[in-house]
Symmetry: C2
Subunit: 337 residues, 2 copies
C-alpha cells in the first residue's frame, strides 16, 4: 500500500522543518519527545490564528505562518523564556495548492530561523470553516524563574518596549478604515506599519533585563490599556492600577509625526492591539539598571507611567488631566468570549 | 475597570480544572510552567476535534470534552507515557450558554479524573465556523524510552488491545447508516457501541508491557488496516508488511454475534477507525511475557498476525485466502489532506 496522502503531505512540506530536533522523529511518530535542559522548565503557550480574525484571506501565506509563530513566541519573550520547539495544528477548508504550501512553509522556516525554534509535531485537518492555525510553543527558562504577569507593586515603573500603534495603523491603512486614505502618511511609514501588522517582532533581547529586574511582564496583544489593566488586577499587592502619561507613549514612527489626530484617535491606534511589544513593571530603584540591561539586549524601553493603589488604568496629558478614549474604536479584535 | 468577559469566563469555568498544578498559575498568566520529573521526558501530542468531523452538534458537551481529551491521551498510552497536563484551545461560533459550559467542563473534569491529568492553560476564541477543540497533551516517560511507531521487524507478532469495530458500529447505529436500523443488535450492545464512539478508553494499563516488550506501538485512530500499514512502512528493517488473520480479530461484542454480515462488511466496521485501541508488535519469543504483563495491567490483547517482509497489509481467512474489503466504506473519517 502506498504512503497515504497525509504522509506524503507531511513528508513533502513539513519534515524538513523538524530536522534539528531528534525528538520530533522526522514527524513520523504520533508524538514528540521533548526534554528541557537540566535545571530548565518548559514555558508553554497555545494560541490559534484564524482567517478573518487574525489574518486575511489574501495575506501572503508566508506572513500568516510567520505571524502564527510570532504571536506565540512573543509570550515566551515576555516571560524571559528561550524558544525551543513548537507543535502545529492546521485546519484548512480544502487541500491547499503547492504554491500556497511553499509560501506557508517558507514563512515557518523564516520564523524558525528568526526565533530559534524547531517544529516538533502537529496535525492537519480538512475543516468546513475558515482556515485556522494553532501553534503550541515550548520555551526554556530556569525552573521557578518565569517572569509572572501578576507581580506588579504600587510604586513600580511601567515600561513598554519598542513603539506602539504600528500594527493597528498598518491594518487601518490596508483596509482603508477610518478614513485612513486621507491620512498624510508617507509610503515608507505606511509600509513599515503594515510590516508591523504582518510580522510582529518578539522582543527576546529583553529577556535578561526582565529576569533580573521586572516584577511583572506580559506581551501586548490586545492593546496597551486592556493588557495593562489585566496586569494590574493581578498585582502582588492585590488589585492595583496604573497611571500612564500620554506624552511618554512611544508612538510608532509615522504615527506621531504625520497623523493629524487628537489624543483620542491616537489612543485608538495605541489601544487596538497586535503590537506584541512587552509591558513590564520595575521597582523605581532598579529602573536605571533595567534600562541599561535592556539597551545591552538591543531593546529600547520607555517608562510610560507608574503602578498605583487605585484600581484601573488612567491615561493623563501633560497637565495631569485624564484623557478619554474609545477603546473599541478598532474593534476587529473584539473576538473573545 | 472590571475584569474582562474573557477573564470571568475562564475563572468561572476553567480555573478549578487547573487547581492541582501550581505551574498553571490558576490560568491567570499567559503561559504555564511545566517541568518533567527527574529522568523523565515530556511526550507531547496535539489533535483537534471539530464539529461535523469528530463529533456532532447535538452530542452531549460532556462527551465532546471527554473525547477531545481521550483521543490525545490515547496516543500517550500507546507510547507508554503517563498523562500529566494539557492545554486547551477552544473556538466556538458563539458564546456558549451556561448549561453547555457546565456539561463541557463536567466532561473535562471526568476525563481529568479518569486519565490523571490537569489543565495547564489555553485559549478561547469566537470563530466564524464549526466548533473546534484543540487539545495538546503532555505525558511523562523515561528519557529515550518512548515506544516508537517505527520499530517493527519481520517475524514480530502483531497485537491489538481490547475489541475493534465498536465505535464505527455505534456511529452507524446512531446515524442510521448502512441500513443499520435493520441490524439485529440488542439495545444493550447498541448502547455499548455508542459509548465506545462517544467515550474512547485509552489503554494505560498496557504501558508496562509495551515498554518492556513492544518493538513498535501506536493507537488505532484511523482504522486497523490504515494504521497497521503506516506502522509497517516505518519498520526497523525498512518498509515491511503484515499478515492479519480475520478469524483472530477481536470483534466488538455485539458485532460478531449479531451482525449478519460477510467478511467485507465486518471489515468495514473494523477499518473505520475511532476505536482507540493499541496496535503493537512484539518479538515472537517475548509474546507470552507480553501477554502476561498486559493481563497484569488489566488489558486483554489479541495476537492477530505477523510482520512480514512483503510490503502492504493482507487480511486472510481461515483457508489463507486474502479477504477483499472496501476501506472507504465508512468514509466520514476521510478528512485528511
Amino acid at each position: 500500500m502506498a504512503a497515504s496522502q497525509e504522509e506524503r503531505f507531511i513528508a513533502e512540506h513539513f519534515e524538513k522543518l523538524s530536522a534539528r530536533l531528534p525528538g520530533a522523529f522526522s514527524l513520523r511518530d504520533d508524538c514528540a519527545e521533548l526534554v528541557p535542559a537540566p535545571g530548565q522548565a518548559f514555558i508553554v503557550k497555545t494560541d490559534p490564528v484564524v482567517e478573518g480574525l487574525h489574518f486575511l484571506a489574501d495575506d501572503d501565506p508566508a506572513d500568516v505562518a510567520y505571524k502564527a509563530l510570532a504571536v506565540n513566541v512573543s509570550d515566551l519573550a515576555a516571560k524571559a523564556a528561550r524558544p525551543f520547539a513548537y507543535l502545529l495544528a492546521i485546519g484548512l477548508p480544502e487541500r491547499p495548492e503547492a504554491a500556497w504550501m511553499e509560501r506557508f512553509t517558507t514563512g515557518l522556516a523564516e520564523a524558525q530561523e528568526a526565533f530559534g525554534l524547531t517544529l516538533a509535531g502537529g496535525d492537519t485537518d480538512r475543516i468546513n470553516g475558515p482556515a485556522s492555525i494553532t501553534v503550541t510553543v515550548f520555551g526554556e527558562c530556569p525552573v521557578g524563574r518565569m517572569v509572572p504577569r501578576g507581580g506588579a507593586r504600587p510604586g513600580d515603573r511601567v515600561y513598554v518596549s519598542g513603539r506602539l500603534g504600528g500594527a493597528a495603523l498598518g491594518l487601518a491603512l490596508r483596509l482603508g478604515q477610518h478614513g485612513s486614505d486621507d491620512w498624510p502618511i508617507s509610503d515608507r511609514a505606511a509600509a513599515a506599519a503594515l510590516a508591523r501588522y504582518l510580522r510582529p517582532e518578539p522582543r527576546f533581547g529583553l529577556g535578561a533585563a526582565l529576569r533580573a529586574y521586572a516584577t511583572a511582564a506580559m506581551d501586548i496583544s490586545d492593546g496597551l490599556v486592556k493588557d495593562l489593566d489585566r496586569m494590574c488586577r493581578q498585582g502582588a499587592a492585590g488589585a492595583t492600577g496604573a497611571v500612564v502619561r500620554f506624552d511618554e507613549l512611544p508612538l510608532f514612527t509615522g504615527l506621531s509625526e504625520t497623523l493629524e489626530a487628537g489624543h483620542g484617535e491616537a489612543m485608538q491606534l495605541v489601544t487596538a492591539g497586535d503590537d506584541y511589544e512587552i509591558l513590564a513593571t520595575v521597582p523605581a530603584g532598579q529602573a536605571d539598571a533595567f534600562e541599561r540591561l535592556a539597551a545591552k539586549g538591543g531593546i529600547t524601553v520607555s517608562a510610560i507611567g507608574e503602578i498605583v493603589t487605585e484600581p484601573g488604568v488612567r491615561v493623563i496629558d501633560a497637565a495631569g488631566n485624564a484623557i478619554g478614549f474609545a477603546m473599541q474604536g478598532f474593534d476587529h479584535f473584539d473576538r473573545k468570549f
